[in-house]
Amino acid sequence: MAGLVNKFLPNVVANWEGDNGFVTAIWQTLYMTFVSALFAGIIGIILGILLVITAEDGITPHKNFYYWLDKLVNLFRSIPFIILLAVIGPFTKLIVGQTIGPTGALVPLVVGTAPFFARQVQLALVEVDPGVIEAAEAIGLSPMKIIFRVYLREGLPELIRSGTLTIISLIGLTAMAGAVGGGGLGNMAISVGYQRFENDVTIVSMIFILILVFIIQGIGDYAVRKLEH
């Protein structure tokens, strides 16, 4: 077995351990994905909820607020991520104190993902039957309780679905961030595999990323199945 691995994946074995090795890269990718997913998730849910409740037919309509938030979300969603990485540098330095490495990648990843997720959250919550919202209002629930007990509860399967989608697209972004100094599997594939013509490294990086994607998709699908009645 070890012989086979050595024969077909010589560069993977050579690059397995150490600061620039696969093990580190995998951890870096996981770190970038989940830490930024956490922050983008929180920001996205808050923004998404605000978009839903302040819309004209929401539970607390607010025309101006909705107008500007809507525009802002669109604006940030429109910036290509690779440009965002460069433009946002000073802001990144201000927040996490560095612009390179996995931690330096967190800020652009969060800024790039949160608006996307906010839109997904909005779409998920708008799907919640307005009749159920009305029933909750008729029962005498406050807007805050309607958000937590009705929107987030009824919209949960859809939120998990869009959360899964968001994390998967986030993994794609971590690969890009990696290539410009963030580390991780993307960096591995490009700066080792591609630039040094060590194709086995590129392929194995890709496989690791695919495995990660499948695991996340599987967990998401399972959770949705459990929750939907």
Binding site: D129, G131, I139, R149
Partner: protein, 352 residues
């Protein structure tokens, strides 16, 4: 004093929507006064403004003008917090049930009780009793998606009753149900009215639903309330054309007349066609026999419908009178003298 004031008093309600430069007057100058213990029906076609009007009661819809007094409380002056607690006294059920899909039947009934301050075991007791009332005790652990429409509406009724409201608003609650289930749900509502003394406001486009449980009826058309009265007077003696249409649809006389017109029987019919409407005692008199005995006029009955509404008989009869012209005239005079509504119908002129 309080007894004389209605439990729901809407005065001069206007509701106007502005939509993309267009102004829509959904409700125009409507006043209703619902007494405690009433089953108050609002009937009208879709778009008449019924749903908008009843939503004004619990301020799900803010009126553009007018006053809303429920339980002697001026709803429009309440703070948000007080409004929310006032809403707990007004249960509401909907056409599409509006249950939480993520909660079980039990969870749905528990939903309004979470802020009630009751302990978990008190809540359980209450939920079990409510599910018992609506006949779904064995379905507590099911999710709404596993229930039929009628069962879903029963869950919604249990949920609406959870905070012991004095008022229950039913917004087309039976419109999505089949006729048998509709009857069952209406029976249940009628029972709640009698047993719990709960005041019910029903909106519907079906006269049959009104007939089954309401004691008072309002008819709405184009945002206006065009006719109002107790069930018997509306049913036995409708004044506005729309009200007549609803009554005719319900008694089927409308379709019978259409059929007579279309089928060509018209040409074979001799004599004069009379429609009789009667309420109460006059039904006991053998009108047809009497007509023959007194005037030698034969009454050929084409259609007859008799119903019991609130323990009173309401009947409608359609017959052709044949005999000597002057005798027929006398017979009609005689009928006019009875406590019945007589209307001569001319089929040939009313072209269709």
């Amino acid at each position: 004093m309080a007894e004389q004031n209605g439990i729901i008093q809407l005065k001069n309600i206007d509701v106007t929507f502005h939509n993309e430069g267009k102004t829509i007057e959904a409700v125009k100058d409507v006043s209703i006064d619902v007494k405690k213990g009433d089953v108050f029906g609002v009937i009208g076609y879709s778009g008449a403004g019924k749903s908008t009007l009843v939503r004004v009661i619990n301020l799900l819809q803010k009126p553009t003008a007018g006053s809303v007094v429920v339980n002697n409380q001026n709803m429009l002056q309440l703070s948000q917090k007080d409004l929310r607690s006032a809403r707990r006294n007004i249960g509401m059920i909907f056409q599409h049930f509006n249950l939480m899909n993520s909660l079980t039947v039990y969870g749905n009934v528990d939903f309004p009780l979470r802020d009630s301050g009751l302990s978990k075991s008190e809540r359980k007791q209450k939920i079990d009793r409510l599910l018992d009332i609506v006949g779904l005790a064995d379905r507590a652990k099911n999710y709404p998606s596993q229930l039929s429409g009628g069962q879903k509406q029963r869950v919604a009724i249990a949920r609406a009753l959870a905070n012991d409201p004095e008022i229950l608003i039913s917004d087309e609650a039976t419109s999505a149900l089949d006729p048998k289930t509709t009857t069952e749900i209406l029976d249940l509502l009628g029972r709640l009215n009698k047993e719990l003394g709960i005041t019910i406001v029903i909106i519907t486009h079906e006269m049959d639903a009104i007939k089954q449980i309401c004691n008072r009826v309002s008819v709405m058309e184009n945002g206006r309330l065009i006719e109002e009265g107790d069930l018997l007077s509306i049913f036995g003696n409708p004044k506005e054309q729309l009200t007549k249409d609803f009554v005719n649809t319900s008694t089927h006389i409308g379709s019978v007349l259409d059929e007579i017109r279309d089928s060509g029987i018209v040409n074979k019919l001799s004599g004069r066609l009379i429609e009789l409407n009667y309420i109460g005692d006059s039904t006991n008199e053998p009108i047809v026999v009497e007509l023959y005995k007194r005037f030698k006029v034969e009454a050929n009955i084409l259609f007859s419908n008799i119903e019991r509404l609130q323990n009173t008989t309401v009947g409608i009869m359609l017959f052709a009178l044949t005999g000597d012209d002057d005798k027929v005239e006398e017979a009609i005079q005689y009928l006019n003298g009875l406590k019945v509504n007589v209307k001569e119908i001319s089929l040939k002129k009313e072209g269709k």
